[in-house]
Symmetry: C2
Subunit: 243 residues, 2 copies
């Protein structure tokens, strides 16, 4: 089986055999995590990165008043602790939301990759940009959108990310988050998330049954959440030739 990193990057471009091998070589060891296990704590001094090979993780920060802001949800092929490429100590805590597994990755391996496979390091820059745009979308949501819109956008965002990993999944999916977690991701309280979900349900956009969501009116949900799917507009034509 392809390494999770090769799988992820292979969705974006056709990898050469060389590149494929180089990526596969990065994921030697694997470390499994129980649900709730802490992979990395804020202010830790991580010596390595991780690639998610299985399960779901999230990263968050705790503010001085004790409230939590969830920053990311991480799925197979996502890289954890990229920040350690710039900073000595982790700016965020990373924990497993489900049973999960990660492959440790030396920071220097990224440097070596840049030397041996320039196209891949250029691709990593592009992947960074995709994540940056995702962050600015969420920033605009937190700054300027209503509670209902933020919850709607979160549902669509997570569903889409789950679907790229499992194309069978369509209108119905398990979100895998508590309402408190939805709130900490969208800047709301659990109580208000509950009311917004109910409202989306009453308005016929979704139904819920035991933690599983079904999107009944995806177009309306997207309008409600001012949601734009970015994956349509990908363009990596500038990448240099493969090695």
């Amino acid at each position: 089986m392809a390494s999770s990193l090769a799988e992820r990057l292979g969705e974006l471009i056709d990898l050469s055999a060389n590149e494929q091998a180089a990526l596969d070589g990065l994921e030697q060891r694997e470390r499994t995590l129980r649900r709730g296990a802490v992979l990395l704590r804020e202010h830790d001094r991580p010596s390595e990165l991780f690639v998610v090979t299985r399960g779901t993780l999230m990263s968050y920060v705790i503010l001085p008043d004790g409230s939590r802001q969830i920053l990311h949800f991480l799925f197979r092929g996502d890289i954890v602790a990229m920040a350690s490429l710039a900073y000595r100590s982790s700016p965020e805590t990373v924990i497993a939301l489900t049973e999960a597994a990660v492959a440790p990755l030396e920071r220097a391996a990224i440097g070596a990759l840049a030397v041996s496979h320039p196209r891949l390091s250029a691709l990593l820059i592009a992947v960074d940009q995709m994540e940056r745009i995702g962050l600015t979308d969420r920033l605009a949501g937190l700054g300027r959108m209503s509670a209902k819109a933020r919850v709607a956008a979160l549902l669509l965002d997570i569903r889409n990310r789950l679907r790229t990993r499992d194309p069978r999944l369509d209108r119905t999916f398990g979100l895998g988050l508590t309402q408190e977690e939805i709130g900490d991701a969208t800047g709301l309280t659990a109580v208000h998330v509950n009311r917004m979900l109910r409202q989306l349900e009453e308005e016929g956009m979704i139904t819920r049954e035991g933690g599983r969501f079904t999107l009944l009116d995806e177009a309306l949900l997207a309008r409600t959440g001012h949601f734009t799917d970015r994956r349509a507009g990908l363009d990596l034509g500038w990448l240099p030739a493969a090695r």
Copy 2:
């Protein structure tokens, strides 16, 4: 004089003569912008990137209800339209806040740089991470911090970024933003920004005189804004050797 990109990256690592020359070669042309000029419009299909060589720019999105969320402020050495490395159309509008100048940069030049100067492309990945952390800090602010805290954090953030470009500047600086712009960056209305600035002033943290701010009690301001200066913790030890 060093190119603005070489100047910026040179603050992070010691550039080799080769690298310096490669970076200088990127900034051939220069384009000047009047205050308020639009460099890039949302949904434009930019064929190139830009490096800011002079002045200040900002990027923002307009939501369907007409409200604006400011995403970034851009200073000398910052790269504009990095998103075009991943996407066909720009997700954000970029305009000049002051008289400004930018140097256009072909996307393919980034790819060529990755091939000829792997350490520089690895460094670009690190720079991306620094921006990503800046975004997550702001995300946490919008999601979980009070209006007063967000305004306090913005003041410190901008002052620090201005200071890296002009070390003479200390407690007093010209912010260069209207209160409406502060509001659009922090997710507030201009009216409430005004009240928060007044409050910071009444509490002895700042004074204002004609658009110029003086930070009277920086420690208190930092506590109020839950502000952490990230630049202290930089660590780029993993970079490969220079060429």
